[in-house]
């Protein structure tokens, strides 16, 4: 399979067929997946009738699709707010396709020729070990756009471990644009909650900076930081035209398929993926109204996470986006709200 531009021109028949093939692949090679599908239709030609897996399964089960000659299977884990991480397996073929996918998508937002030092709001220690976190993988998806990689923190998850000397050393010897990545809340903590020394501030002002973040807003809700406040603050660091803040949505269960927000607030779906909105009561697919997002892609071979029902709320737009990107678009509306437990016992 080759992924190529233009990335938003939908080829529905081709995508449908790819999804059917992928379903069949996982069904034939993954006994647990076969069990799960035992009660569902696996032969439908209709996309929205294809069986999906609930994302929660990847927190509880090891759902690897193992082939005898499979090479270089790695386990990726999510960064979970619930405390239990999801795990998915990525084989060599999937890794290659996923890297291609994220590169093509990011290129559409960063620009084909863009290359700059990549500053990561994480520690280099995150690269150690066989099982990599989704966070570091998200950062590494920007590697094709980097001329150099600098880890800003000495300890992961600790914004206060910001190594100013390391950043100063780079900035003092380099005049060009920067690419900065972090999980949304860490990016905020690193640049807002730390007292940035003046010598660094002065070297950031006037410089084109592209901030890229993912991970959601949950941890910033308590501080009442919304996207507008977030973006305005980050852009004030450089105060330069050409700087931008790119917020993308992605899941470890849909590795490589990311959905940056365009300037009109929509997230666009590349032709090797699809997004549906489900009513979880009736299981109907709904358009134009909020519901639970179901994400699909045909580049996932290591685990059957090619078709997942998330617990994120979203809405698929019916009209074409003014940004000019063709095909389907959607937006995120938050997480499925947790209802209050009614009753006298603990469950």
């Amino acid at each position: 399979m080759i992924l190529e531009k233009p990335i938003y021109d939908r080829k529905d028949v081709s995508f449908n067929n790819s999804m059917l093939d992928l379903n069949r692949f996982h069904y034939e090679n993954n006994p647990q997946y076969r069990n799960i599908l035992s009660g569902q239709s696996n032969n439908s030609e209709v996309l929205y009738e294809l069986p999906f897996l609930h994302v929660g399964l990847f927190k509880s089960l090891n759902l690897a699709t193992i082939l005898p000659d499979q090479k270089n299977v790695r386990t990726m884990q999510s960064s979970s707010t619930s405390g239990i991480a999801s795990s998915v397996h990525v084989d060599a073929q999937s890794a290659h396709l996923q890297a291609q996918s994220s590169k093509l998508i990011l290129e559409d937002f960063l620009g084909y020729e863009f290359k700059a030092p990549l500053l990561i709001c994480d520690s280099s220690k995150s690269l150690r070990g066989r099982n990599l976190s989704a966070r570091i993988m998200a950062a590494m998806s920007l590697k094709p756009f980097s001329s150099d990689i600098v880890f800003l923190l000495d300890e992961s998850n600790d914004a206060a471990s910001f190594n100013f000397d390391r950043l100063f050393k780079l900035l003092a010897n380099y005049d060009g644009p920067l690419l900065i990545y972090g999980f949304t809340w860490i990016l905020w903590q690193v640049f807002h909650d730390n007292v940035i020394p003046d010598n660094i501030k002065n070297l950031l002002i006037g410089r084109e900076i592209k901030f890229v973040h993912s991970g959601g807003w949950k941890k910033l809700e308590d501080k009442k930081i919304d996207p507008k406040i977030f973006d305005e603050f980050l852009l004030s660091i450089s105060n330069t035209p050409g700087s931008c803040v790119i917020d993308y949505y992605g899941l470890v269960e849909q590795m490589g398929v990311i959905f940056p927000k365009c300037k009109f607030g929509r997230r666009h779906v590349p032709y090797w993926a699809d997004v549906l909105v489900r009513d979880v009561w009736s299981m109907d697919v709904i358009v134009g109204e909020p519901g639970q997002l179901q994400l699909m892609n045909c580049i996932t071979f290591g685990s059957p996470n090619h078709n997942v029902l998330t617990e994120d709320l979203g809405i698929v737009f019916e009209s074409q986006c003014p940004c000019g990107r063709s095909g389907k678009s959607f937006d995120l509306l938050g997480r499925v709200p947790k209802s209050e437990v009614r009753g006298c016992s603990n469950v």
Binding site: L57, P337, C344, V347
Partner: protein, 393 residues
């Protein structure tokens, strides 16, 4: 005879209850409240909670609380025997979950006129204050409203607050609904030497259905109705369905039957996160190879299980097991509270002598009545314990 003295007779024993007000007038106030509640539902209560509360505050039910506790009401003037007068200060700790226990308990306490302090969950919707607000809105001039506003005080604090200490220090009776830890915590607070602690803590329940009834529509409706009120989160909700005298085929049959008739139960839509949880659980069970059914509207999951007392898999899921009485009794936990039954006369006859072998069962009731709260609860006549007794010759 005073309006606020009520005489009872039971097994040749005479009892007089002396209240600080006329019970008849209090019951009239509740009767008027009932009418208001039928006309207007407070949106903070679910439909089933509101319907239950309306029934609970009926004159006949509230009167029955006294009858169950003291005996039949008699007009005969009694000059000797046991005189019961209510303790004057009662403190109540309620669980953190949203629970109807609060409104039910304060309704019962309002029948004795004590001063009541209620600690409600600090992180959840407080239905006691919603009931109070409803009464004040619809019956502002009533003595009942006066009791709810002047004699009842609500504290929305957490367990570390010093209010807990003052509640315990002031109370003649401490009532706790909650976890074992919560009850222990209250018990350790300083309290008057002769005060009482009534602790209603971690208990669980189950449903017993005769194999002959797995196709009985009324039984299936009762089972679903009783389960779907709170799912696994009610102490009186069944944690498992036990088919007496059945096998795996009957368990499967019951499971499928419950789903087949689902629309006829007229249940409200479940919350979105519950529906999503149920979809997830169904797939987990499928992965395990465990037969299961997802109810329409993703409302609940029923799954087949070996005989055991299971930990809940999710709030709206329940295991269906088949076996003999002995199998279920052997697998019961130590804190079983209620068995809701739908048994043939023969099965019930066999069950009754076995109750003595059950570790802790305090209620053996019809399936439809599993959630019925009353003056006898968790092995004690707690309503009786709200009164001091004077022996009069």
């Amino acid at each position: 005879m005073f309006d606020n003295v009520i005489n009872f007779k039971s097994n040749n024993q005479s009892r007089s209850v002396i209240l600080p007000f006329s019970l008849a007038f209090r019951l009239n106030d509740y009767s008027d409240l009932q009418k208001s509640m039928i006309r207007n539902r407070d949106p903070n209560f679910s439909r089933s909670e509101w319907a239950y509360l309306i029934n609970f505050i009926s004159k006949s039910n509230l009167k029955s609380i006294f009858v169950k506790t003291f005996g039949e009401i008699t007009d005969i003037d009694i000059n000797n025997g046991l005189y019961y007068s209510p303790f004057t200060h009662i403190s109540v700790w309620l669980p953190n979950n949203v629970s109807l226990l609060g409104p039910l308990t304060v309704a019962m306490l309002s029948l004795i006129g004590a001063r009541v302090e209620v600690k409600v969950g600090s992180r959840s919707l407080d239905l006691v204050s919603k009931l109070r607000d409803f009464i004040v809105t619809h019956q502002p001039e009533s003595k009942l409203a006066n009791w709810f506003t002047q004699e009842m005080k609500i504290h929305e604090v957490d367990r570390t607050s010093s209010v807990n200490k003052s509640m315990s220090a002031a109370a003649d009776v401490r009532i706790v609904f909650g976890s074992n830890d919560a009850a222990r915590g209250v018990d350790l607070l300083d309290h008057p030497l002769h005060s009482k602690g009534l602790y209603f803590s971690d208990r669980v329940s189950e449903a017993w259905i005769s194999a002959d009834f797995i196709n009985e529509k009324s039984v299936l409706k009762d089972l679903v109705s009783v389960f779907m009120v709170y799912g696994q989160a009610g102490c009186t909700s069944p944690k498992r369905i036990c088919i007496i005298g059945g096998d795996s085929e009957s368990a499967k049959f019951l499971q499928n039957n419950l789903i087949k008739n689902w629309e006829s139960y007229n249940l409200p839509k479940v919350e979105q996160n519950i529906a999503s949880q149920n979809i997830l659980l169904k797939q987990l069970l499928d992965a395990e190879g465990r037969p299961n059914c997802l109810a329409p509207g993703s409302s609940a999951v029923f799954f087949l299980d070996e005989v055991n007392f299971p930990a809940p898999r999710s709030n709206n899921s329940i295991s269906v097991q088949a076996g003999r009485f002995e199998d279920f009794i052997e697998s019961q936990p130590d804190n079983l509270q209620t068995i809701g039954y739908a048994l043939t006369p023969n099965d019930k006859r066999c069950a009754l002598p076995l109750i003595s072998r059950m570790k802790s069962v305090s209620r053996f009731v019809n399936l439809a009545n599993m959630h019925d709260f009353g003056p006898v609860w968790d092995d004690r006549n707690w309503f009786l314990e709200l009164f001091r007794v004077t022996d009069v010759e």
